[in-house]
């Protein structure tokens, strides 16, 4: 294509990407320099590496495998509550990990519903700690994500193609091979890669359900090197390993998510003429719904009592969490919007690469690096909250860009000629075309960032001392102190806060959006 004029400059986005690069790479450099003095890679570190890979592979394969029949069922069935269920599939992604873990323990744990039911038949209780607990929790979080990504793939198959296939009398396998398999071949690798990458950096799940020599992820090992031994060199060495791992995974993810030119089909609800078995679809939909809903309902039920008599430190932690989340979301939008615009107007692979860097760098690695960099100047615990907000924003960046970039690209493709012919450029185009056209996606991204930050239990655990805590950290401490009722009440409060802010922002973005 001949070079075309563009209505907006990529420079602010390149600037934002440079800031992110400086933060991520700067902390990594700090880590790498420090790692030199870290000594040898111990036997337990090899075990951590092996465990990290094993659980990530298992989690991504199981999540994606289960997601295929569920997404297919959702794509071709219309039933009451379908919208709610699809919205709910988005929930685990923004669900605070600590809340889900509490719910999973209440359902699948030693004293959980299922173990009790098994005991009724004289069967032994399930053991939820260790590898299967970690994989179970990861599937809980990523099956819905995988389902949504695949469902999106199904819905991007233009309705016209289904009509055409119906007219050609394609059914069953023929339909699958003609329309669905090509879509899966395109979407599935990226789903696997994304879930794998997410599970690699798993910290909170491993912290609560793993642990011990046989179920420690590298992230958790970094934390332990920090808090138990205060061995910065070893933490840095582990961080370097983690970095190599996640960078490789991110590169793979990036490779598999090559964009195709988007094909436009009119936005009607997909109607299909090939029957398929309703019973099988019903099974997958209800099984997935139950798997997601049981732990959540359990938290809600057990939390209601605790909510009435929450200790004041929980409320204090809640206020802190909200403030951190608001700051984090603002930082995120400040970075992500110019970056999305830059990607939309040109092939700025630098900006895209930096955007994915957040996936490659784990929060604990950046946290370790920041700790090393900051310590000579200020007491790291004093800046625990700003650091948490910043790291959360960088962590949300890849997801925000995934949401924002396609919308920005579509807006630029559709309206750049019109805007240029009207001489609308720069901030005018940004403010009066790009932002309004992307409002729904901005709301979604902001809601996501808000909820992710609110529920984050990662870098805060490194930096915080006993005096300061965000709500997830406070809940973790309550769980550790066996104050289960207060923990459940706090978990319900956290659930309401993060889901509530996500809902408000996402809804706000889509309010009265014209097509």
């Amino acid at each position: 294509m001949a070079e075309r004029a563009q209505p907006i400059s990529p420079l602010p986005g390149v600037g934002a990407a440079t800031l992110v690069a400086a933060l991520v790479l700067g902390t990594l450099a700090a880590v790498a320099l420090r790692a030199d003095s870290g000594g040898m890679f111990a036997f337990s570190d090899w075990a951590a590496l092996r465990f990290t890979l094993t659980q990530a592979v298992l989690s991504s394969v199981i999540s994606a495998g289960l997601a295929i029949p569920t997404a297919r069922a959702l794509a071709r069935r219309r039933f009451f509550g379908r919208q709610v269920l699809i919205a709910l599939l988005g929930a685990p992604f923004v669900l605070p990990v600590i809340v889900a873990i509490l719910g999973i323990l209440q359902v699948f744990g030693r004293a959980g519903w299922i173990s009790e039911a098994l005991g009724f038949f004289g069967l032994p209780a399930i053991r939820v700690y260790g590898l299967h607990g970690v994989v179970l929790a990861h599937v809980f979080f990523n099956l819905p994500l995988a389902t949504r990504l695949l469902l999106q793939g199904w819905q991007e198959i233009p309705a016209e193609q289904f009509r055409l296939a119906a007219q050609l009398n394609c059914k069953g396998m023929a339909m699958f091979r003609l329309l669905e398999w090509p879509m899966l071949k395109r979407v599935l690798p990226s789903v696997l890669a994304v879930v794998f990458a997410i599970c690699l950096t798993s910290f909170a799940v491993a912290l609560t359900l793993g642990g011990g020599p046989r179920a420690t992820t590298i992230e958790l090992a970094i934390y332990q090197a920090f808090t138990y031994d205060f061995n910065l060199g070893r933490a840095a060495l582990l961080s370097t390993v983690q970095l190599a791992l996640t960078a490789a995974a991110a590169l793979v993810a990036l490779r598999f998510t090559r964009k195709e030119g988007f094909r436009t089909g009119l936005d009607r609800a997909i109607r299909r003429w090939d029957g398929g078995s309703p019973a099988i679809d019903t099974f997958w939909i209800s099984a997935t719904a139950a798997f997601l809903l049981l732990p959540l309902s359990s938290v809600v039920i057990s939390g209601v009592v605790g909510l009435l008599e929450l200790p004041t430190q929980v409320f204090k932690a809640a206020v802190i969490s909200v403030a951190v989340a608001v700051a984090s979301t603002s930082i995120l939008l400040f970075l992500a919007l110019p970056m999305a615009a830059a990607v939309a107007v040109g092939r700025h692979s630098f900006v895209e690469l930096i955007g994915i860097l957040g996936l490659a760098a784990s929060p604990l690695v950046i946290g370790t690096g920041l700790f090393i960099l900051i310590r000579p100047f200020v007491n790291p615990t004093a800046v625990a909250l700003p650091v948490t907000a910043l790291v959360n924003a960088v962590m949300a960046l890849p997801f925000a860009l995934r949401i924002l970039v396609p919308a920005a690209q579509e807006t630029v493709t559709r309206y750049s000629r019109l805007a240029l012919s009207l001489d609308m450029k720069g901030h005018v185009f940004f403010a009066s075309v790009l932002l309004p056209r992307m409002r729904a996606q901005i709301g979604f991204a902001a809601g996501l960032a808000m909820a992710l930050s609110m529920g984050d239990l990662g870098v805060i655990a490194l930096f915080a001392d006993a005096q300061v805590a965000t709500l997830p950290l406070q809940i973790y401490r309550l769980m550790g102190a066996y104050q289960i009722q207060a923990a459940a009440g706090g978990a319900l409060l956290l659930l309401m806060l993060s889901m509530g802010s996500f809902w408000v922002l996402d809804r706000g973005g889509r309010w009265h959006v014209e097509t």
Binding site: A2, R4, A5, Y415, R417, L420, S421, S432, P436, T515
Partner: protein
């Protein structure tokens, strides 16, 4: 007067050459087989596509390097002529100021332009509250307030259906009659070309030919055009 001086316009591997003049205040159809480069020609004139060689002049002024918004050109595209999140009024206002912030006098100008295209009192509606024909009228109102001398139509009414399309073309002809505006419109339908244009540019075999009288061209079509017209 629009002058394309030895222009070479590339679109991928495809190359279109144009060496022609269009007189002021004329209505010119651009006709030719599909894929012959009609849109490519308009894109070059509007500044969306750089020319590889040659120059484009308007009244002796060199436009070749000017960005689209600084050319005396108003365009109506096949689609996406309006911003869906802005009201009719706001869309038209953009023709006066790119940031849409218009003064009171300019507001009156916008209202009168909407009146001239038959949308009196519909200024606050958004595109999705208007019919296809009304949306085209909003875009035309914006063209009116833009006050550019050269109007390029890349089949903006193609989706409207024959009667409505004819109505819109008549409206265009009526709006520019008596002004000094020059109209260039791509046409797939000889009837449309006959309806409002007196000259036609034939685009075929990699060449945009100089305008000649529409009737003459359509009655004595060269081979490439005859195959297309059938």
């Amino acid at each position: 007067m629009l002058r394309l001086d030895e222009c070479v316009i590339a679109n991928g591997d495809f190359v279109l050459r144009a060496n022609l003049e269009v007189a002021d205040a004329s209505c010119v159809a651009i006709i030719g087989p599909s894929g012959a480069g009609k849109s490519t020609l308009l894109e070059a004139i509007a500044g969306f596509r750089n020319v590889k060689g040659g120059r484009i002049f308007w009244d002796g002024e060199d436009l070749t390097k000017r960005p689209p918004g600084k050319r005396p050109v108003a365009s109506l595209f096949q689609d996406n002529n309006l911003f869906p999140h802005l009201s009719a009024e706001q869309n038209v206002s953009l023709g006066i100021r790119p940031n849409g912030r218009v003064s009171k006098d300019e507001r009156a100008l916008v209202a009168s332009a909407l009146g001239r295209v038959g949308l009196l009192g519909m200024g606050t509606r958004k595109p999705f509250e208007l019919s296809g024909g009304q949306q085209s009228r909003v875009a035309l109102a914006r063209v009116l307030v833009q006050q550019r001398d050269l109007l390029l139509l890349d089949e903006p009414f193609a989706a409207l259906g024959p009667a409505l399309k004819a109505e819109m073309l008549d409206l265009v002809a009526q709006l520019i009659s008596g002004t000094n505006k020059t109209l260039l419109m791509i046409s797939h339908d000889p009837q449309d070309a006959r309806r409002i244009t007196n000259k036609s540019i034939l685009v075929a075999d990699g060449i945009a030919h100089p305008p000649e009288p529409t009737e003459h061209l359509l009655n004595n079509p060269p081979t490439s055009l005859r195959d297309y017209l059938g």
